[in-house]
Symmetry: C2
Subunit: 96 residues, 2 copies
C-alpha cells in the first residue's frame, strides 16, 4: 500500500518545525548537514539513527566524511516526503 | 609531516590486487560500490570499518542508502592516495 505524501500544509509545518532541514531542489526530500566534534561522535550519531531506522523500517540516505554527516530523507513508497521522514527528522533533532 | 603518495608502480599493484576498486576520474581516490543483504548487514559492515578507521586514524568517505555503501578512500595529508588507503581497502576486502 502506498504511503501518503505530505500535503503542502503539512510540508510547510514540518519545515517551520525543523529549521535545520531544507527541501531538496526537486521537492522530494529533506536534507540536513550535521557537524560533530569528531568521527567518533559522528558515527555514534549514525549508530543511534541506524537503530531507529531499523525499528521504524525507514532508512536514511547519508554521506559521512570525518565529523560531518549529510542526511537525506525521502519515502520511496510515497514518491516523495511522508510523515515517516518528519518523524525521522524529529528523532535526529533529539539526538544530534 | 606529509604522507608519501603512492608511486605509479605502487598504484598499479594496488589496483591489480583490489579488483573491486577503481580509481576516481581525478586519480586521487579509490572507489568501490558494495552491496549487502540488507541495511543491518550494510551498517554492520560500516561499524567494523569505523572501528578500524579510528584505530588507524584514517577515515573513509562513504555514502549509504539501505543495503549499499559507496566507499571513497583518499589521504588528505598526501593530496592523493597513500598506503593508508591500500591498507583500508585490504581491511574492507577482509570483512565485506
Amino acid at each position: 500500500m502506498p504511503i501518503a505524501r505530505l500535503t503542502d500544509a503539512e510540508l510547510d509545518a514540518a519545515l517551520a518545525e525543523l529549521p535545520r532541514w531544507s527541501l531538496r531542489a526537486d521537492g522530494l526530500a529533506l536534507e540536513a548537514d550535521l557537524k560533530f566534534a569528531d568521527f567518533n561522535a559522528a558515527f555514534g550519531f549514525m549508530t543511534r539513527v541506524a537503530i531507529y531506522a531499523e525499528k521504524a523500517d525507514h532508512h536514511p540516505e547519508w554521506f559521512n566524511v570525518y565529523n560531518t554527516v549529510r542526511v537525506t530523507l525521502t519515502t520511496h513508497d510515497a514518491d516523495g516526503l511522508s510523515q515517516r521522514d518528519v518523524a525521522m527528522a524529529r528523532f535526529i533533532e533529539g539526538v544530534v
